[in-house]
């Protein structure tokens, strides 16, 4: 029989997961609505945002480069990317891409320092212009979130894409 303490900690974990999910869903919605400046406000000034290259090795199924990236960003470089997308000369996003981020398989655990380890899967639909073609990007994310009242800020995001050689013209979206 479960004790009250068990039930309470189970409830805590459930509530934490709820809050993390709500945050990640809202974040995805912001990006899908292309409210990128608002998205920047969710990032901590010392944010670490990385997406390393996946490297196919013979005996390892989940192997990533330690020095080669699609993204290896800090707040300043992310802000520059966001501002660039607002330029009418940022041809990669003219017309803007249509995205839909499906965030699933969320797991959240509280760390000793009060921050939260949030893991999630991401499936991103990516279409543009009047073409019938589209792309999906898939991967998993490992975030460190900092509690901020009822919600969070992003201290760290590591994105591990499933693609060895992406079949994509360019990665002009945030993951």
């Amino acid at each position: 029989m479960a004790t009250n303490t068990d039930r309470e900690s189970e409830l805590d974990r459930f509530l934490l997961k709820q809050r993390v999910e709500r945050f990640l869903y809202e974040e995805a919605a912001l990006l899908d609505r292309r409210e990128q400046t608002e998205w920047l406000a969710l990032l901590d000034e010392d944010v670490e945002y990385k997406a390393p290259l996946r490297i196919t090795r013979e005996h390892v199924n989940d192997n990533f480069s330690r020095s080669a990236y699609y993204f290896d960003e800090d707040y300043g470089s992310l802000e520059a990317r966001v501002q660039r997308f607002e330029s009418e000369y940022a041809w990669s996003e003219r017309p803007p891409s249509r995205t839909r981020r499906f965030v699933t398989n969320v797991r959240a655990t509280e760390r000793d320092d009060g921050t939260v380890d949030a893991r999630s899967y991401l499936l991103l639909y990516y279409g543009q212009g009047d073409s019938s073609s589209y792309t999906f990007l898939a991967g998993r994310r490992e975030d460190v979130l900092r509690p901020n009242g009822e919600t969070f800020t992003i201290a760290k995001r590591h994105v591990y894409l499933d693609h060895a050689v992406p079949k994509i013209d360019k990665i002009s979206v945030f993951l």
């Binding site: 290259l53 660039r84 000369y89 360019k170």
Partner: protein, 513 residues
């Protein structure tokens, strides 16, 4: 797989002849039929007659520093294993088992002493030698193992750590192919003490672009920079002289055509610029590693962009950053356009830094490279989205039936006041402005020469377009001919071929120059 020559010509004899005649007529006017940028017939001819015999970049030696290190590489569609064998030599082995053809290399890279076939277990040393045949006494008792090593690319050679292979049995040596253009490659690869090395693994991504559009772009498209990349300037991610309108800045802008290859450079005369590398890197640049003229060119250079025929390109951009509030730096990027079809290219993109740079500086150089090039790069994103459009319209009925042509006449006598820089210290024909597309025309001329020469026909030759008289290359080491297709590091290595013919019989000098 590309069809064999006889098959291709048997199937569509007139296609080739008509198409080639049409291309030739266009070329004569500094134009090119749009349809050549998305044509199955052209693609098949390219596989057979261009990628099937020209020197194609495979990788840099620093990618496989230790014995047994290997990486999967391709020449167009053909898979090879780029490996440093147990003797320290670099091999480019055809990735197909000599028994019944299975592929041996299942990873992108790794380290191994042997390659074992997953099908029936034939095992090869990393030299390519066949050393194990399961149940040999019963199954293959008379098999001569020495005759069944992995095939090597017919010719393999290197320059300044850059390893190339050719699927042709004969023709120009790599040394002849690069010609005096090594003057410019030296500036990129030989300047720092300790040499250059690849940082991390190359970016690879598959785009819906014809490979020639990338090649065109790096063969002197300074015209596009100020417009296609205007957002970089707006954001302050790149300086005015690097991303500004071509020919309008304070810099001394030059386009160089040399022995079939091209480079564009922007220089600040009399200044010490060194591509805006940090002092730590500039301190590694040693005048003794190059000639005085090369050193001065490097010193005054803000940027270099260049193209090595047919599908290798490089860029070293200065005054570029990932964030307007951070320091700028130079970085060297190398790229290869790997054709996967008439409308599909796998782009490979490597970042380099001097081997002796500190880890922190290498990281910084990589970050600035990645922020601007590779699939997520602020520059590169915009290029590819534009290039795809060209590939798209090239496949139109209209383009095929109405002789739609692309115009590459900028910089010809009819279009511009052409001035040449006679004082330029390096080899090649040197335009005193960076507004010209004649370099692209030269690329197309060579490309056409390959396409119109049957694979078994005359060896490809190259004529130097005037002014290539003053090279001071010092990189041609001695040829060594031990080991099939292997390369001794540091200079032009061996090019021994399967049939044992020696390099000198192929018409290349035994000891460099």
């Amino acid at each position: 797989m590309p069809p064999t020559e006889s098959k291709a010509t048997a199937q569509q004899p007139d296609d080739h002849a008509d198409l080639l005649a049409e291309i030739e007529a266009s070329l004569g006017e500094g134009k090119l039929p749009l349809q050549t940028f998305n044509s199955e017939a052209v693609h098949q001819l390219e596989l057979d007659r261009l990628f099937g015999r020209e020197w194609i970049f495979v990788g840099h030696e620093s990618e496989i520093p230790e014995e047994g290190d290997y990486a999967r590489r391709y020449i167009a569609g053909d898979p090879f294993i780029f490996v440093r064998d147990m003797n320290g030599d670099v091999q480019v082995l055809f990735d197909s088992c000599r028994h019944r053809g299975a592929k041996l290399c299942r990873a992108e890279q790794g380290n191994t002493s042997h390659f074992r076939c997953p099908y029936h277990g034939w095992t090869y040393k990393n030299t390519g030698d066949l050393v194990g045949v399961p149940q040999k006494e019963v199954a293959f008792k008379n098999l001569d193992q020495s005759e069944h090593g992995l095939h090597s690319a017919p010719r393999v050679d290197s320059y300044a750590g850059l390893v190339f292979a050719s699927l042709g049995d004969s023709g120009e040596s790599l040394e002849e192919h690069l010609g005096e253009f090594t003057w410019y490659l030296d500036i990129q690869f030989k300047l720092p003490d300790g040499g250059m090395e690849v940082i991390g693994e190359p970016h690879r991504w598959v785009v819906e672009t014809n490979w020639k559009t990338g090649a065109d772009n790096f063969a002197g498209d300074s015209y596009h920079t100020g417009f296609a990349h205007h957002s970089i300037k707006q954001l302050g991610l790149g300086g005015d002289d690097t991303v500004g309108i071509a020919g309008a800045g304070e810099t001394k802008d030059r386009h160089v055509h040399c022995d079939g290859h091209t480079t564009s450079t922007r220089m600040v005369e009399g200044e010490e610029v060194f591509m805006t590398y940090p002092d730590e890197i500039v301190d590694l640049f040693n005048p003794d590693n190059v000639t005085a003229d090369q050193y001065r060119a490097a010193k005054e250079a803000l940027s270099f962009t260049g193209s090595v025929f047919p599908n290798l390109a490089f860029l070293n951009f200065g005054d570029i950053t990932d964030d307007p509030n951070k320091d700028v730096t130079g970085f060297l990027g190398l790229r290869k356009w790997r054709p996967l079809g008439p409308n599909k290219t796998e782009i490979w993109s490597w970042a380099f830094a001097p081997k002796r740079a500190s880890e922190a500086t290498k990281k910084r150089i990589y970050k600035v490279y990645m922020s601007n090039f590779g699939p997520s790069g602020n520059f590169e994103q915009d290029d590819v989205s534009i290039w795809n459009g060209i590939t798209d319209v090239a496949d139109s009925t209209f383009a095929r039936h109405h002789d739609v042509e692309l115009n590459y006449q900028m910089g010809t006598e009819e279009m511009s006041e052409v001035a040449y820089d006679e004082e330029w210290p390096g080899p090649g024909t040197v335009y005193a402005i960076n507004l010209e597309e004649v370099g692209m025309q030269k690329f197309h001329d060579q490309w056409f020469e390959h396409l119109s020469t049957p694979r078994d026909g005359t060896a490809m030759s190259r004529e130097c377009g005037g002014g290539c008289g003053s090279a001071k290359t010092d990189g041609c080491g001695s040829a060594k001919t031990d080991g099939c297709g292997s390369v001794k590091t540091g200079g032009y290595g061996s090019t021994k071929t399967d049939d044992g013919e020696s390099p000198s019989e192929r018409g290349r000098p035994e000891d460099g120059e």
